[in-house]
Subunit: 119 residues, 2 copies
Amino acid sequence: MNREFEDRCEVHYIHEDNVREVQTAMLEQETILSLAELFKTMGDATRLKLIFALMKKELCVCDLAAVIGVSESAVSHQLRVLRNQKLVKFRRQGKVMYYTLADEHVRMLFDQGLEHVCE
Amino acid sequence: MNREFEDRCEVHYIHEDNVREVQTAMLEQETILSLAELFKTMGDATRLKLIFALMKKELCVCDLAAVIGVSESAVSHQLRVLRNQKLVKFRRQGKVMYYTLADEHVRMLFDQGLEHVCE
DNA sequence: GTTATATATGAACAGTTGTTCATAAATAAT
DNA sequence: ATTATTTATGAACAACTGTTCATATATAAC
């Protein structure tokens, strides 16, 4: 009769109470997806180097490319990703774009991650 | 004569002092890679749901599959990824494997990320 | 206007990732 | 030992990601 239920009944919940409790608390799919995007954005060596560099100083695309040793095009592409996730902000001065960290959350995430890794 | 220098000279450092300063402070490649792996691991909706679930309760593979609505095989694969990054730990009780968060770092990273996303 | 410079973007390609399905391993019960 | 159950693993495949290269845009200097 009810397909959803038929499917459900084949699942064997070992601790049904726990399952329901956690399911109820579970975050919205949308929230989870945003969070995944955030961590995914930080899950790349090039972007982490960019973030680290911007934790130290405001820098232009040119400088960033020199610091981490990749092409300016690659840097520009990755800066866009960081911008989309609001991890960095920028200002234009003439032809030059200066980037900085968007806020202290980014720094805290970075440092917190570093602590986990360095244990 | 010196190829490395030839290449170097084509790079146009706009703020050479800043570049050198940040370059000096830059983390080891190995450290950056470990950090990238950590964030990459957290950069997936399924794994974030697993982490969230384990933030609430100790759960077995079976329960986790039911909570987040994916196959037990998929859960098992992802739990291995989380285990490799030391984000979860587990104990065996008979046939059943019970998973929990490895430590409070994970929770703090998750919450810190959530704060950034929810702004 | 033209030219030069700094940055951004689009397409393409190799490399990586997450799921599914089939199968294996580990334990428990008979 | 055989069978059932829970979890883990390997192979395979589609989907996604990051770089490169070529090109476009934006500003400045002339």
